[in-house]
Point group: C2
Chain length 149, copies 2
């Protein structure tokens, strides 16, 4: 039991992810100030589509660590905002491929810059090596708790 000594008094912030919440809140605020009316969650879906357009909803689930209902509704709302379009796959009619619209492509550069800037503020005064350690720990935690199918 190597972590018996883990202090109970420090559990909570680890569990709630206060840091990631703070980053998300700041970024959301920056979007709003710039007149960009999307939520962080919607943005995070667009983020994966900017990396690779035309993903299935299932693929969006695994890449964004969300369950299917969450993606269904996020895509619903993004469709209402005319930022994405569902296109049924021709090979497999169960599958919806999600495509960016022109309007969404216009948001890419500005919002990614804002996200980078927000992360720079968040990480001000943190050593690069420590960031790498932190990311590795978080990835390991995720892997430890996520059973491989």
């Amino acid at each position: 039991m190597p972590y018996n000594e883990f202090k109970r008094g420090e559990l909570y912030s680890f569990i709630t992810g206060m840091a990631s919440t703070a980053v998300a809140r700041r970024l959301q605020k920056n979007f709003k100030q710039a007149g960009i009316e999307i939520t962080i969650e919607q943005w995070s879906v667009l983020y994966h589509l900017w990396k690779e357009d035309g993903l299935s909803q299932q693929e969006l689930c695994s890449r964004s660590f969300r369950d299917k209902p969450s993606i269904t509704r996020l895509v619903d709302n993004l469709e209402k905002l005319k930022l994405v379009k569902r296109v049924p796959s021709k090979e497999d009619r169960r599958i919806n491929l999600v495509y960016l619209t022109e309007a969404a492509r216009k948001l890419q550069e500005e919002t990614l810059n804002m996200a980078n800037q927000t992360l720079n503020e968040a990480l001000e005064g943190v050593r690069n090596d420590d960031i790498e350690v932190c990311k590795a720990v978080l990835q390991k935690v995720y892997d430890n708790l996520t059973p491989i199918p």
Copy 2:
């Protein structure tokens, strides 16, 4: 600009706090399996009250990194479950002091043990030094983005 090189491709998991989400989901599942019918968010409020009973709602806000409406409803729901009681302060009638009930005190040991166990699973194979670095980074991120009033 020391973090210009921060990779965009790694932004997302940092922002969403996938690791803390995974920990919370696992703990929630463990509660359910043990027949404990409270949410992680409700538990996190109890957690602060176990450390110090009779906090004001405002104090619960700052300790749990939540805003006032969130605490209002969490305390509402905990009151419905008969786990806490609001008691108006005698010195300042605007203030509600929140007290644990006997039923809540009974939950303390079992749920804290489950939380510790879940964290041990989560941190399996992670060096203690790295955990400390990770916590320090997350704290710094939080501090960087949270203006001191």
